[in-house]
Symmetry: C2
Subunit: 375 residues, 2 copies
């Protein structure tokens, strides 16, 4: 069995399509990873996540270390068995969530001490502890522990943070490799930082390449900088990373973000948007997003999206989904989440096919015309 291999089947401009092969299964790229924060993709059964087309899901180290706890998950047989997903799982390092969710943080060269947002208990996250947690969870793709600063901080602050993240990346690599049994089955990805600055991004990429990773993530984007600034950064950042390794843009994004990022050479994505929006009454369609709470849907007998083959669109009307969301019924969240995950996976499948057939530019133009017209 292959621990980790990435084969690029076709390129079209900067866009690439390929397959990552791992022991727990193959990942078709460009890939979208649904977010399964607390060992569940919210409002979804795992078999339905798979049926939507997902090859891999993401788990959040920060949430899982606090509840139910990494050692507990390990005693229960690992995250795959616990949550009922037997294909690859990527876990983040906790570096981003500890900054956005925890309280009373203190950052030193050693790592981050913080208080749990659940019960105030004190915890440490460091490169070594993050690798240990991800090993206890049984992660297939482990992410380096990094700091993710706001993109609008002064360049010197961004630079110092990036440099520390690169030292943490080396410690992550060493700690990961020390867990020999797990390291023989799992992959480790480095995370490029440097915010919007081309020079810092280049320095970060070079530092990561020097250490050597199975794949390379682009961190520190989708933190409020806006699509234009994100795309401007993606005009150079992916090309600074090795062409023969998967490139993963963390925490992105909206459907049009995904198209623009694939166009710029990105291979992997994760985002809470399809699941969170599903719970909030927002549906993604080929003609743009829809708010199902809007009264104009109250007597609309049509499906969410005429082109969508998902179980929700095959069976239910917009009127019914409107009713469920107005009434606060859980089924509204369930059905809309399922549709949104199908939509995201169909978008990825559409991009993969377009790249393979050398018509990505036309696909992207058609997508933008229809999607943005409805927005």
């Amino acid at each position: 069995m292959t621990r980790f291999a990435f084969d690029i089947h076709a390129t079209d401009g900067k866009a690439r399509t390929g397959t990552i092969r791992m022991m727990r299964g193959e990942i078709r790229t460009p890939a979208f990873m649904p977010v399964g924060t607390a060992a569940t993709v919210k409002a979804m059964k795992m078999e339905d996540v798979r049926a939507s087309g997902a090859d891999i899901i993401l788990g959040n180290t920060y949430h899982l270390m606090l509840r139910p706890g990494a050692e507990r998950v390990a005693r229960l047989g690992g995250l795959h068995k616990f949550g009922g997903w037997d294909r690859p799982i990527l876990t983040d390092s906790g570096g981003y969530q500890v900054m956005s969710l925890s309280e009373l943080r203190k950052i030193t060269e050693e790592g981050v001490t913080f208080a749990s947002h659940l019960d105030g208990s004190r915890h440490l996250l460091s490169p070594e502890r993050s690798m240990e947690i991800q090993r206890l969870l049984g992660s297939d793709i482990v992410m380096c522990f990094d700091e993710c600063p706001r993109a609008d901080l002064p360049r010197a602050v961004i630079a110092r943070s990036m440099e520390m993240s690169m030292r943490w990346a080396r410690r992550s690599r060493e700690a990961f490799d020390a867990g020999e049994e797990h390291a023989s089955r799992a992959a480790l990805f480095g995370i490029q930082q440097g915010a919007l600055d081309e020079g810092l991004r280049k320095a970060s990429a070079d530092a990561l390449i020097e250490i050597g990773f199975d794949g390379y993530a682009i961190g520190g984007l989708a933190v409020g900088e806006g699509q234009e600034a994100m795309f401007a950064t993606l005009d150079f950042a992916p090309q600074q990373l090795p062409a023969d390794r998967p490139r993963y843009l963390m925490g992105v994004g909206k459907p049009d973000d995904l198209v623009g990022a694939v166009e710029r050479g990105v291979d992997m994505f994760d985002c809470v948007l399809p699941t969170r929006s599903g719970r909030n009454g927002q549906a993604f369609t080929w003609n743009g997003p829809l708010n199902l709470r809007n009264a104009r849907h109250a007597e609309d007998t049509g499906p969410l999206d005429e082109r969508c083959p998902c179980p929700t669109c095959r069976k239910y009307s917009r009127a019914y989904l409107h009713h469920l969301h107005k009434a606060g019924e859980m089924l509204g969240a369930m059905l809309l989440t399922e549709h949104n995950l199908w939509f995201y996976q169909q978008l990825m499948a559409g991009m993969r096919a377009a790249i393979a057939e050398g018509r990505f530019a036309a696909f992207a133009a058609d997508f933008r015309r229809d999607y943005c017209a409805g927005r």
Copy 2:
């Protein structure tokens, strides 16, 4: 196609097992009807409700008339199409919910005027309007409009209320029959009242039989009187109703309530308990109820119930369900609701098989030994 037929295949003591045949499908009795209040069985997909073994579900007239509205459901093609359930649906009359949920009620011989608990809007429910709403919804089994008083009121109050309900039953029958097209496809059930009083129950039964119905419900129980008083009433009430017609005990109940009521000759049940409990972390098992929030389940790798073939028990541990309920994850409600509906349907299937094989007393004794031992 048969509009409505009830065949009793076997009896064992007072217990009976049979089949109700209707245009939209067969209902195996004794039957448990999951409650689909607002055109959804909460936290469940309809295909999974069916997979649990349900032949029929219940819809609530009171809720549906207020949101999305009966006329709107009719414009959208009826309740079956709207909610995605193509088998029989029984709708209650709204008589019970209007008393328990609405505000500013005024009861007269004509009916009940009330203010919606959703927006304060004024509405009337009468025998005629209830029949009209149930027709607009496209109900398969329509319930007479009745008043359901508290069982602890003075006998004279209970008697006057019952007598009005019997006049309302006649008006319900006439209004139902006037909707000729719908009446050619649907069935109408009368509702016996009279609280715990044998004489009033007999008078109510006789009044209903005089009018004539497809089936007969026992109303006014499970309103806080306790299992002992309910069973004492069920010692006589079912036998006052025609032996060749289905008997439906409304709003019941706990698993041991169902066994005791079947033992006393009841054929049909509905209750929110399996669904509501599922959302609240309570699971029903052959060894009694379990509270999944309890810390003792935190590292229990076993299933909810070793004997249960449901998707939840086949795939997930108590530890995972504990985690989901502690974390407030929607999947916890989904998986526990599904298990509870399977458990209820398996209990009904077990009772049907035991009656058919003439071993109901042994089944009931075994059930009580295991279920009550774990309680």
